[in-house]
Amino acid sequence: MAFSKLYDSAQAAVADIPDGATILVGGVSGVNAPEGLLSALADRGVRDLTCVCDSNYYGAEALHRLVSAGCVSRIISPAPFTGRSDDPVHELWRAGTMTVDVVPWGTLAERMRSAGAGIGGVFLPVGIGTRFAEGRETRMVNGVECVFEAPLRGDFALIRAACADGVGNLAYEGPQRGWNSAVVSAARVAIAEVDQVVEPGGIDPELVITPGIFVNRIVQSSSVPVG
């Protein structure tokens, strides 16, 4: 039963993501996005997803595809708009069918980490004096003005990693780890698209960044990682 977390395909791994789900997506600026999982999700035509992700700039073609296919109705991100004229998020937002929440990236990561760590919320000194603190609960803590940031949970996490063993321990390569540690901990079901699957014990324990307790499903990637 060692490989019970291993799924045959990206399609199978995302088959039960329902309409209206909140998905937390790994990758930074579209690099190291779980392209296979996102494509499979777009193919299924789910609707009304809330998508939490880093900027959708540059390389995240599958994320663009998911958005362009009308699967996403809300994006929570530090930079949801690409700033380019062909930006599908911009089009949908202008048409009133897309809600956009902009959150500084360190704060977004910390909100997911809080959710994963059972923290009820944190006081952060980020964004004071900007639109990101307006209308929010603020307080002076230890003489520092802080904003209260609530945990951010997801139903599913979709991430890319270099290597998984059968029990879901993950190792990354270079900047691949990006949002992943925060993302996988905050989701009810975490799905990892990986380049390589090895037997349990096949990863040096000192190199495991995400322990298998946070990972529910593993899919061997059929695509070359972007980045």
Partner: protein, 444 residues
């Protein structure tokens, strides 16, 4: 005649001239990243990039945000769109990003670094100034920029406005003033822009011995001490060095207050494990903040217990997970957080409680220290640490939360010799490195 403005590479070079050897610098945007690329490796500078790297190490987004908020970044260089005379800035042109909030890519960089430099074109293509009295684009940081570098000038942001300190070659103060959208006073020391990198190399972090590495640990200091419970994974050599130094009235923060000696796993006959007890019995400890401060055996009380019964020491009891989280918060610029652990128990007394989504939480605060004494397997000379097995215990959360983190290692290697994927504690969190002497065992 139209004066030439500097090209992007020259602005980047001027920004690079602000980067001190060995410093930690966050960069975002084209001009800032170009500045980073101009700094040679031997300067030992750490560059935190939004793409998820800290120089040649991978770093996850939560840790990168934590490094910024936690005060570990000496300088942020950001490519801004607009800066005002108070040092508030906008990260992008409003027309480029729709919606009331646009994007937040630079907000973190502005919120934690000790210094913030904004690099930007002095004017836009249509001649509109980008250095202004009041921002017209969305503000990404309030009163945080202290130096503005443009393609014609350098300004210092003072309490009462902008001071022009440098001009690009060929430019006069009046010519700069004419295309600046805010009042400018001219420094009496106005000079041409200086494009030279600061000289020198970073000071070495490697100390010859333990006593030298803690020679300035003062009376009354708060000290993090690593270890879980047994004799493994502790900075024994540094503990003995601290005993020898004799600093008094210490507050120690640790999982236990010294029980390795009483639990004695694997202790050779006739010898005693080195733990916090060496400080307690030497009368150096005034208080412990710990999660397991007593011996598991009633008949074999620890030194700390005996001192507590004699009324010589204070104790703050903290649940183990809360201790780790308070340490992380201290190093991550999280001033306070809500945890469900201990709600409704003695631990909650005197603390704010709050019901969130139907569950009761209590408010806990970050912990910081003057010194951390920790143990790792290997360090490179930059201070990057690799642990071995369970000995990483509290180290990763202690190192960032102390002003001076001293690490005791088995081996010191050259930069590049450690697998970047195996580095758990990046060198930005480590100030001093000592090799544990050959034959030093952790027992005496």
């Amino acid at each position: 005649m139209t004066l030439e403005r500097l090209d992007a590479q020259s602005v980047a070079r001027r920004a690079a001239a602000e980067i001190a050897p060995g410093s930690v610098v966050a960069v975002s945007g084209a001009w800032a990243v170009a500045a980073a690329d101009l700094v040679p490796e031997e300067k030992g500078v750490w560059f935190l990039r939004a793409g998820g790297t800290l120089s040649d190490l991978p770093i996850n987004a939560a840790d990168a945000g934590a490094a910024l908020r936690g005060g570990h970044v000496d300088l942020s260089i950001l490519t801004a769109a607009q800066v005002d005379s108070h040092g508030s800035f906008a990260g992008y042109h409003a027309a480029d990003y729709p919606g009331p909030q646009g994007h937040a890519g630079l907000v973190d960089l502005a919120s934690g670094a000790r210094r913030v430099i904004a690099a930007l074109p002095h004017i836009r293509e249509d001649g509109t100034p980008n250095v202004v009295s009041a921002l017209s684009f969305p503000q990404d940081g309030a009163r945080c920029v202290d130096t503005i570098i443009t393609d014609v000038a350098v300004f210092r942001v003072a309490d009462d406005g902008l001071i022009l300190t440098e001009v690009a070659p060929g430019w006069s103060a009046e010519e700069v003033r004419a295309i600046t959208g805010a009042p400018v006073s001219v420094s009496p020391n106005l000079r041409d822009m200086d494009f030279d990198l600061p000289p020198g190399r970073p000071p070495s972090k490697v100390y010859a011995d333990g006593p030298g590495a803690i020679a300035d640990l003062p009376d009354g200091a708060t000290v993090f001490i690593d270890g879980f419970g047994g004799p493994g994974g502790m900075a024994h050599y540094l503990l003995v060095s601290l005993r020898d130094r004799g600093s008094r009235n210490l507050t120690i923060v640790s999982n236990t207050a010294g029980i390795a000696r009483v639990v004695s796993f694997g202790t050779p006959p006739g010898r005693t494990a080195i733990d916090h007890s060496v400080l307690v019995e030497n009368g150096q400890v005034a208080k412990a903040i710990a999660s397991f401060p007593v011996s598991p055996s009633v008949s074999r009380p620890s030194e700390f217990e005996l001192a507590y019964r004699r009324g010589e020491v204070d104790l703050e009891l903290v649940p183990q997970g809360t201790l780790a989280e308070r340490l992380r918060a201290g190093g991550a610029g999280i001033e306070a957080f809500y945890t469900p652990t201990g709600a409704g128990t003695l631990i909650a007394e005197g603390k704010e409680s709050r019901v969130i989504d139907g569950r009761e939480y209590i408010l806990e605060h970050g912990l910081r220290a003057d010194f951390a004494l920790i143990r790792a397997h290997q360090a490179d000379t930059r201070g990057n640490l690799v642990y071995r097995g369970t000995s990483r215990n509290f180290n990763a959360v202690m190192a960032p939360a102390a002003r001076v983190t001293v690490v005791e290692v088995d081996e010191i290697v050259q930069p590049g010799e450690l697998d970047p994927e195996a580095v758990v504690t990046p060198g930005i969190f480590v100030q001093r490195i000592v090799r544990r002497p050959d034959g030093f065992t952790g027992y005496e």
